[in-house]
């Protein structure tokens, strides 16, 4: 109310009494503001503010990207909570150990070779398939310009930090889909290869300035590069691994294996939403107020739309409102907007979220019908909605058009083939050499005892 009163006073140049003024302004301004907020992404392009001194701009840009990296790190709290909550208590220590190792292994392999594989500096983008930059992250010690605006809007270490956090999120998507029956050692070996080699090499095709970038493929923050890559990995491993023994019976029944902690599931999803502010917001890669503010709004609107849609669909199609579906719907919306968060008007973000929310519900049901055991819905949230989000860039927003749709489809198909081949080959080799599944006895007793010799929830002292 006060802000509207001030706006009216300034534009008129004359001061009116506040009550009549605010009611007059409200009648005119509120509907007008509401309409513009829903329709136009960039409002006052003509009014450019005075440019900041360049060292202050560097500081602000850098701070935002660093803060965003920290927010992306929060997604690991989210994944740990979500996965523990949706799986059985007897496997909790195992799930948490996998999550703990993945962030650590992700950061270390990215430092060793991932960063250099993902951003190798292709000379000719159109032929950029593979190039190895360098081992390690010590370049900045030799080259001071990497810490100034000559390198980018942020320092080389900030670049590494932000991107390293992304790498680990791609790997952790798989841990939920394989929960409850995978051998810990096999999983760790597979994930190290996946996050150390597959993710950065295929990622270089777009973000590293490789051949897909040259073709006009667009993925703002990683619906394809992070989410569908993780999703394909999850699908391949779930297929190679097989289901938990209690999940499907030979007469075709699907068994209900309930999660052990619903509050953790909810907290996990909200932590992921919080982290997504950095995931998408930081992908602006600068402190630009217009882009960041737009992206945070489109991100939130898509999440909200996805949550409501999945919740309502579970209520009307599934008969009862399902908390885990509503929460999966929020994630679906978030994954869906991630490819084009900076390209969409707010109504388009809502539309993308609605479709994602519907897709995730039917996908979870279908994955079960296909007798693929996915305890947390990782395939439905990350793979299916990752593909949808990528396609949506050609259907909605500033880049919409037939050419863009072709570029998006090219990207989707290439990532599908590459990731499935990598995940499948490494998975099959590990299956033959080490085995993928724990024994049936161990599965029944719980992987906490079998793999770790400890329990998460001690019953009696």
């Amino acid at each position: 109310m006060r802000i509207l009163t001030q706006l009216c006073r300034r534009s008129d140049g004359v001061t009116y009494s506040s009550s009549s003024l605010s009611s007059r302004c409200c009648r005119l301004l509120l509907p007008a503001l509401a309409l513009t907020a829903f329709c136009t992404p960039a409002l006052f392009a003509e009014d450019k503010p005075e440019p900041l001194p360049s060292d202050v701009k560097f500081m602000v840009d850098n701070l935002w990207v660093l803060l965003s990296g920290a927010l992306v790190f929060i997604m690991h709290l989210g994944f740990a909570s979500l996965e523990s909550g949706l799986t059985e208590a007897k496997n909790t220590v195992n799930i948490l150990f996998k999550n703990t190792m993945i962030i650590c292994i992700g950061l270390l392999t990215y430092g060793l070779c991932g960063f250099a594989l993902m951003y190798p500096g292709f000379e000719d983008a159109a032929t950029g398939f593979f190039k190895f930059g360098d081992f390690g992250v010590t370049r900045a010690a030799d080259d001071a310009s990497l810490m100034t605006k000559e390198y980018a809007a942020y320092t080389w270490y900030t670049d590494f930090f932000f991107q390293a956090m992304f790498a680990a999120t791609a790997a952790t998507i798989v841990s939920g889909a394989v929960a409850g029956r995978i051998k810990l050692s096999s999983f760790l070996v597979w994930s190290t290869l996946f996050v150390g080699l597959c993710y950065p090499i295929v990622g270089s095709w777009k973000w590293g300035g490789g051949w897909l970038d040259a073709k006009g493929f667009y993925d703002f923050a990683g619906s394809t590069l992070v989410h569908s890559v993780g999703g394909w990995g999850a699908l391949v491993m779930a297929l190679l691994l097989g289901p938990r023994i209690a999940k499907f019976t030979t007469d075709g029944k699907v068994n209900y294996i309930p999660g052990s902690n619903m509050p953790l599931v909810a907290i996990g999803v909200f932590l992921l939403w919080l982290g997504w502010f950095g995931f998408n917001g930081g992908s602006v890669l600068s402190g630009d107020a217009v882009s960041i503010s737009l992206v945070l709004v489109t991100t939130s609107m898509a999440a909200a739309a996805g949550g409501v849609t999945a919740g309502m669909v579970s209520w009307f199609v599934g008969k009862k409102p399902d908390l885990t579906m509503a929460l999966n719907g929020i994630l679906a919306g978030l994954v869906g907007i991630t490819a084009g968060a900076d390209q969409m008007a707010i109504w388009e973000a809502v539309a993308i979220g609605v479709v994602a929310g519907g897709l995730v519900y039917f996908s979870v049901v279908t994955v079960d019908k296909l007798r693929i055991d996915d305890p947390v819905g990782a395939i439905s949230v990350h793979l299916v909605c990752g593909i949808w989000g990528t396609l949506a860039v050609g259907i909605f927003g500033a880049k919409a058009g037939g050419e863009q749709i072709v570029a998006q489809l090219t990207g989707i198909a290439s990532y599908a083939v590459a990731t499935v081949v990598f995940a499948g080959v490494t998975g099959l080799i590990i299956k033959a050499v080490m085995g993928l599944r724990v024994s049936d006895d161990e599965q029944v007793e719980g992987l906490d005892i079998g793999e770790h010799g400890m329990t998460a929830y001690h019953q009696l002292p």
């Binding site: 209690a246 029944v444 007793e445 005892i449 770790h452 010799g453 400890m454 329990t455 019953q459 009696l460």
Partner: protein
Amino acid sequence: MKLIVAIVQPSRLEAVKESLSKVEVFRLTVGDVQGLGRQKGHTEVYRGHEYQVNLLRKVKLEIAVNDKFVEPTIEAILKGGRTGQEGKIGDGKIFVLPMDDVIRIRTGERGSEAI
């Protein structure tokens, strides 16, 4: 009238419930318990030390039955509760206890009708 108390493996609970329903036993009480017996416990490792834990999770069923249901109930629990074809150590035990009376709270009925 007898009270049948059975300690079974948690993983066999669904199979036991199914085989009980096949002999028309639909009323039972189920509880979470821990027990020790011939099935050795397991070794846990916590922060550098090994511990022997010999309490294992089991499920306890309590079923009040009329005399003619005693043997069918026992057979059903044996069928559902055995792990695999020959069973394993740790599958549990069935106790048959004499029962003085049973009363339905809602109506106050006593005896066989209340079961």
